[in-house]
């Protein structure tokens, strides 16, 4: 090897080494972290999640961390059942005073937290006080109206409210932020404003380990009161890309994926259909996709245009035909929705055209669009595909259906932040594809947050005084019958004014390898699966 070659090789390698040193100068010492040696006994069930669950900061009184992990660790006082019926949770029975200001809960006996400490009235008082003290929860009814919490004996809790409170049981049943946490979870123990240490709840699981951005591992809570604790470890593995989740299911790196927590794009379902190695589980959801209408738009201010759009939308084409049963804004699984009380617009393009012509729109054969004094109907539909990839296809189907009734739709697929800017602040949309909330937040909390309209706080999705009055009516009664009557009128009003364009009723779809047995859906979408009942068959 001639000297010159050695010299130039040295020069090149020194430069490379310099680059490498500069590159890895910041790495911490120690080899790449390899997985901890597995305890031989506990086999792992791995679930794919779309985002980091921030396992080490899941404080029951906040919205930190993933909903699924939150509801796996903490139990609610009362549980949310089918169609909105409230069932017993940590409280076996409860009474609501006539004036709706006093709620008395009788707590379950002999229940322990995962650290063995006693579940009693004190721990409930501590949890509620801590949640109310957190100013981020100010918009919730309990936080707004709670006066004081009394504990007459170790297993009775009485909540006194300053004025009538009608949503207490619904808010208590939700995943966050009113579930019960042990006083030992904070430092100093029992202090409502103590510094959060470790999640300790009465739920079926407790936190085992957490690796940021990678996985959250839960082990069973041996003191679980309701059913037998699970013999396995439950791992929530972060997989951000939808296709990666599909592939991870196929090569066994994860056992379960789907639902809101780790969604599998619907177009990938055929890979797992009639395939013995996998089982597809489907369950009704309470969420639906709908389009928010911007009343400020000159065309959309006219009711007949809104109605024509509803009539022109063929929801059966959505999601490869799975959208056939759409009738009205809310699914039948939503509380206070009965088979008869939600009128809806069925697909009838001709009627839609008649409505437009009746409202003074002329058909322009050249541009094949309806126009009024020379201006064709052109609408900007804002969507986002980061959280809901399927919205792109729906928007394109909607676009072509509107073309059939002479309305030109331009789709704007915005980046997530710009999308929420359009919805909440700058209102730069004519139509915007959004979704309803889920379970206990429907219909009241969802309707008040989007349709409640006062001069001070204008309605976000639609501004209608009559609807607002009806919503006020709900807040004045705790009797289910009275509330049902008001909701019947609310649904009729939503339909009559065509305030929204319902597009699709979602379904909860989970896919798991067939060696996972005894799969059962949870009570709310935030706690989608009864993880502790799962079994692994060899």
């Amino acid at each position: 090897m001639s000297k010159s070659f050695k010299r130039s090789a040295i020069t090149i390698s020194t430069i490379l080494l310099l680059l490498l040193a500069a590159c890895s100068s910041q790495t911490e010492p120690g080899p790449a972290s390899t997985n901890k040696p597995e305890a031989p006994a506990a086999k792992r069930i791995t679930v794919a999640v779309t985002q980091d669950s921030k396992g080490d900061r899941i404080d029951a009184s906040t919205y930190n961390g993933a909903r699924a992990v939150h509801s796996a660790i903490y139990d609610p006082l009362v549980e949310f059942g089918e169609g909105g019926k409230i069932g017993p949770g940590l409280a076996t029975a409860w009474e609501v005073s006539e004036d709706g200001k006093t709620y008395t809960f009788h707590l379950r006996e002999g229940v322990q937290f995962s650290d063995g400490s006693e579940f009693n009235a004190e721990s409930v008082k501590f949890s509620l006080a801590r949640t109310v003290a957190n100013e981020e929860n100010a918009s919730l009814e309990i936080a707004r109206k709670l006066d004081k919490v009394e504990t007459p004996d170790t297993h009775t809790v009485v909540l006194q409210f300053k004025e009538m409170a009608t949503q207490v049981l619904l808010e208590l049943s939700q995943a966050r932020p009113f579930r019960i946490m042990s006083p030992n979870a904070v430092n100093p123990a029992g202090a409502a404003d103590g510094e959060f240490v470790k999640p300790i709840g009465t739920g079926p699981w407790q936190l085992d380990s957490f690796k940021e951005g990678a996985e959250t591992v839960l082990t069973a809570n041996e003191h679980y009161w309701k059913e037998k604790p699970s013999p396995y470890k439950l791992v929530f593995k972060v997989i951000t890309d939808p296709q990666a989740r599909v592939l991870a299911l196929q090569n066994g790196e994860i056992d379960i994926a789907g639902g809101e927590v780790g969604n599998i794009p619907y177009e990938s379902l055929p890979i797992f259909e009639n395939n013995a190695k996998y089982k597809i589980e489907q369950h009704a959801s309470t969420m639906s996709y709908f389009m928010v209408i911007n009343q400020k738009n000159s065309f959309l201010a006219d009711k007949s245009v809104r109605q024509a759009i509803n009539l022109g939308t063929d929801t059966s084409k959505m999601m490869n035909g799975q959208g056939a049963d759409v009738s009205g804004l809310f699914q039948s699984t939503v509380a206070f929705v009965t088979p008869t009380n939600q009128p809806s617009y069925s697909f009838d393009p001709d009627k839609a055209k008649q409505l437009l012509e009746a409202a003074g729109f002329q058909w322009n054969a050249g541009s094949k669009q309806y126009e009024k004094d020379g201006k064709p109907i052109q609408l900007r539909l804002v969507i986002q595909t980061e959280e809901y990839p399927e919205w792109k296809e729906m928007a394109e189907i909607f676009q072509s259906e509107m073309k059939n009734i002479g309305i030109k739709v331009e789709i704007a697929n915005l980046e997530r932040a710009a999308y929420y800017d359009a919805l909440w602040t700058n209102k730069e949309y004519d139509l915007l594809l959004y979704r309803t909330y889920t379970d206990a937040q429907l219909p009241y909390r969802f309707l008040t947050s989007l349709f409640y309209h006062t001069d001070k706080t204008p309605g976000v999705a639609y501004q209608d005084a009559a609807l607002t009055q009806q919503l006020d009516g709900i807040a004045k009664t705790t009797s289910p019958a009275e509330q049902q009557a008001i909701f019947d009128r609310i649904f009729a009003r939503l339909h009559e004014e065509a305030m929204t364009v319902p597009v699709y009723y979602t379904k909860q779809t989970f896919i798991h390898s067939s060696k996972i047995g005894n799969f059962a859906f949870g009570d709310i979408e935030d706690n989608p699966v009864k993880w502790h009942q799962l079994t692994i068959e060899e």
Partner: protein, 274 residues
Amino acid sequence: MKKRFTSFAFENKWTTAALLFLTGLLIVGILASWLHPFDPYEPNYEAKLQHPSLAHPFGTDYLGRDLLSRVLAGIPYSVFPALIVLGLVMVISLVLGTLSGFYGGRLDMLLMSVADLFTAVPNLLLTIVIIGFLGFGMENVYAAILLSWWAKYVRIIRGLVHDVKKEPYMLSSRVSGSFGFHAIRRHVVPNVMPQVLTLIILDVSRVILTLSGLSFLGLGAQPPSPEWGVMLLDGKNYLQIAPWMGFFPGLMIFATAVAFQICGEKLRSRFQLS
């Protein structure tokens, strides 16, 4: 000049093929509207996700639209803008790179720090701001690509100019007091051009792919645009169900890239000889 071109065109079969392909692209791109066998935008629910067949040589997509028509309709959205962007990048970086490489000193320092600035800022952030600020539209996406790409080129061209500046004939021309601009035009640019051309030709496909990357991050062309990058992204979602949805746009990008490479290579060798 005419004789030179024909000899260049039919020099060997590869170049001819490449040139034919590119002219084909150009023609179809311009006259696209009445050339497609089907309407590239109209969904046709009965023909969803069909295999490539005689009726649909490239198969159909998730809304039953004919992919061949969409690919042809996509030419003006994918190839032409890529060339415009590259042309602008070349001009800007040639000017800045030459100035900073040739004159050096404070101007060079300043330009390099601004260039470093733009290479270091995450171009996703840059793109979001530009699109958020200027509003939607493909020209803003291209402006964003331009802004994050010029820096790399300036740095490379500065390196090349640095090389050329040291050549003896350059020294003699500076010694003889030839005015800087004249020296640049006559000596520096012709010498740097072959490398710059190679550089630019390399990146034709990368501009289209950057667009596809931006759509992956939620910032690309708006539906139902038949832009190749976006179609490539849709193809990824249907990888195992309808692989042809991603394959054919990808094939077109590859073919366009190869055609540009071959023409660029031959042009460059012509540059060198003259």
